[in-house]
Amino acid sequence: MKKKNLILFITIIFSLIIFYSCSNDNPVTNDDENTNPTYSKVITAESGNLKFELWSASANVLRYGYNKVGFKFFENNQEKTTGYVKYLPKMYHWVGSPMHTTPVKDRYDYDASQQLFTGYTVYLMVSDTSSFWYGFYNYNDQLNVDSVFFNVSQYTEAQVKLFSDYVAGAGYFITLVKPYTPLQGLNTFQCMLHRTYDYIYFEQVNDAQMYIMPWMEAMGHGSSNNVHPVHIGDGIYEGTVNFNMAGEWTVADTVYYQNRKITPNNPPKFIFNP
């Protein structure tokens, strides 16, 4: 091997190796969206000497999908820090059309650390020119402020999926709690499940079994290390989804209740763009 040839060969090899030495070492971590501990007041509902305040930790407005909320209640300007609050939002459309409600927590108990009666609401529809929300507030099943108009804003990151269980004659809603801004890699996945027979009363379902399947439809592949959601309390199911590549992912959620699959063969799918 001639010396100059050897030098040329080695130079090329090292140039290529150096080219490969440039790399990125910044793994991502998930954020804490929708679990922000800071609440802001979004609604004040007053009647006579009674006042309810609705606070949200999700946004400075009420919005479509999951909202982490809290209430303050005042009687004669005296704030109550015991007891409980009940809240029922009702949506009316045009004259003669049926009213419906939306999934909310059955009862909001006082959380001293937040100085609020805390819980959640899930708004299934946004306000528009023919759809109007009214709030009905109650303290300790005794004191009411009714029919207080409010607006619900669109929020494109929020997702609520409806499916029907034809065997039981029930409608189900799966509500995404997180992630709203998914990242590449592992993400905490949280959702809620509610059942209704009449769209007036929504029951929080805590004992279903969920099986998720993330899939990148355009690429035709899924991912590993996903964890099926399990109920962790307060109506929230938590698992893990792995978005191992940028682009659009679907997360199909197959639900079993009392050992019977209640989702259709084409299960509801959440869409994410990490």
Partner: protein, 319 residues
């Protein structure tokens, strides 16, 4: 010099081993190709593939958040049975790594076995009869029909528990192709074109990356292409540049075709070959993609360093 030219032909074909977007299964896997005077060939190749991002269904590029790399050590062999026919086989050992701290960070196993065959209709610069004399033909190019079969011997998405453990496709593929080489300046400058059509067979999954599953998937048919220019500096050095890529039709899942899943990608390869000996060559190469919008669709982009050590056994009696 004739041997060098013939070897260069083989090199220009073997450059295809830096597959187009090989994370998506591109390329023809024609690793082992013999020149006309070669009876048998042995090749050991090392590939370092660094995935840098992907194009989505709209052709928009996104960088990878994590470092994902794939290394391959591949052994290949080729054997010529006549002046028209040769066979080859290649088996890689695949090592995947990722720096995602929340997941398993490395996995390795044998990859998919590739078997290839090549029917060579014409060779360049062959003697032909002209009346009572023989003279050198300068018109015919090198022309070969290529055949390939990939056998899923690697660990697939069905058998692997983690994505980093996946070292094979999990399904059979077959390919039919054509390879053309034409010398523009004899012994100095050549142009090479390879085209192939690849068919994937359907695969039913009962598990998928550690989770139970029940679906049948079939990848779309794929058209692979590669255009190369080779320049011979002398008896010891040669270089080539290539543009290669693929276009793949949408896949089907349980017989439902996903219309937005068609794939395509283009990449570029630069290779240099050094010949310490007529029968032995070393070929480092670099493949790169252009990480910007519209240079791919539903495909991964990677930068690849590859080096091959090739030794062939000549047989000048091949007629």
């Amino acid at each position: 010099m004739k041997s060098i030219i013939l070897i260069l032909i083989a090199v220009s074909l073997s450059i295809y081993q830096t597959n187009a977007c090989n994370v998506c299964g591109g390329g023809t896997n024609d690793i082992a190709v013999l020149a006309l005077d070669g009876r048998m060939l042995f090749n050991i190749g090392y590939t370092f593939d660094h995935y840098i991002g992907s194009w989505d269904q709209n052709g928009e590029w996104s960088d990878n958040t994590f470092n994902t790399n794939q290394q391959k050590i591949a052994a290949a062999i080729a054997y010529r049975i006549s002046r028209h026919m040769q066979f080859g086989a290649s088996l890689p050992y695949v090592i995947n790594t990722s720096n995602n701290i929340n997941l398993k960070q490395s996995g390795s196993s044998i990859g998919d076995l590739s078997i290839s065959a090549r029917y060579e209709l014409f060779h360049e610069f062959q003697l032909k009869k002209s009346g009572s004399k023989k003279k050198l033909d300068k018109a015919y190019p090198y022309l070969a029909f290529t055949f390939g079969l990939t056998i899923p011997t690697g660990k697939s998405e069905e058998t692997a528990l983690n994505a980093v453990d996946v070292t094979g496709k999990g399904f059979y593929t077959s390919s039919l192709g054509i390879s053309v080489i034409k010398s523009v300046i004899r012994n100095r400058f050549q142009l090479n074109a390879d085209f192939s059509w690849q068919h994937s067979f359907s695969k039913t999954y009962e598990t998928y990356l550690g989770s139970s599953a029940s679906f049948t998937k079939q990848a779309g048919d794929k058209f692979n292409y590669s255009l190369s220019a080779n320049y011979i500096f002398g008896s010891e050095h040669a270089a080539s540049v290539s543009a290669s890529g693929f276009s793949q039709s949408p896949y089907s899942l349980d017989n439902k075709i996903y219309d937005n899943s068609a794939e395509h990608c283009i990449n570029f390869v630069m290779a240099y070959t050094y010949y310490p000996h007529v029968q032995f060559r070393v070929t480092p190469s670099l493949k790169w993609t252009i990480p910007t919008n519209d240079f791919g669709r539903n495909a991964s982009g990677s930068t690849t360093f590859n080096i091959n050590f090739t030794y062939y056994i000549p047989d000048y009696s091949i007629k």
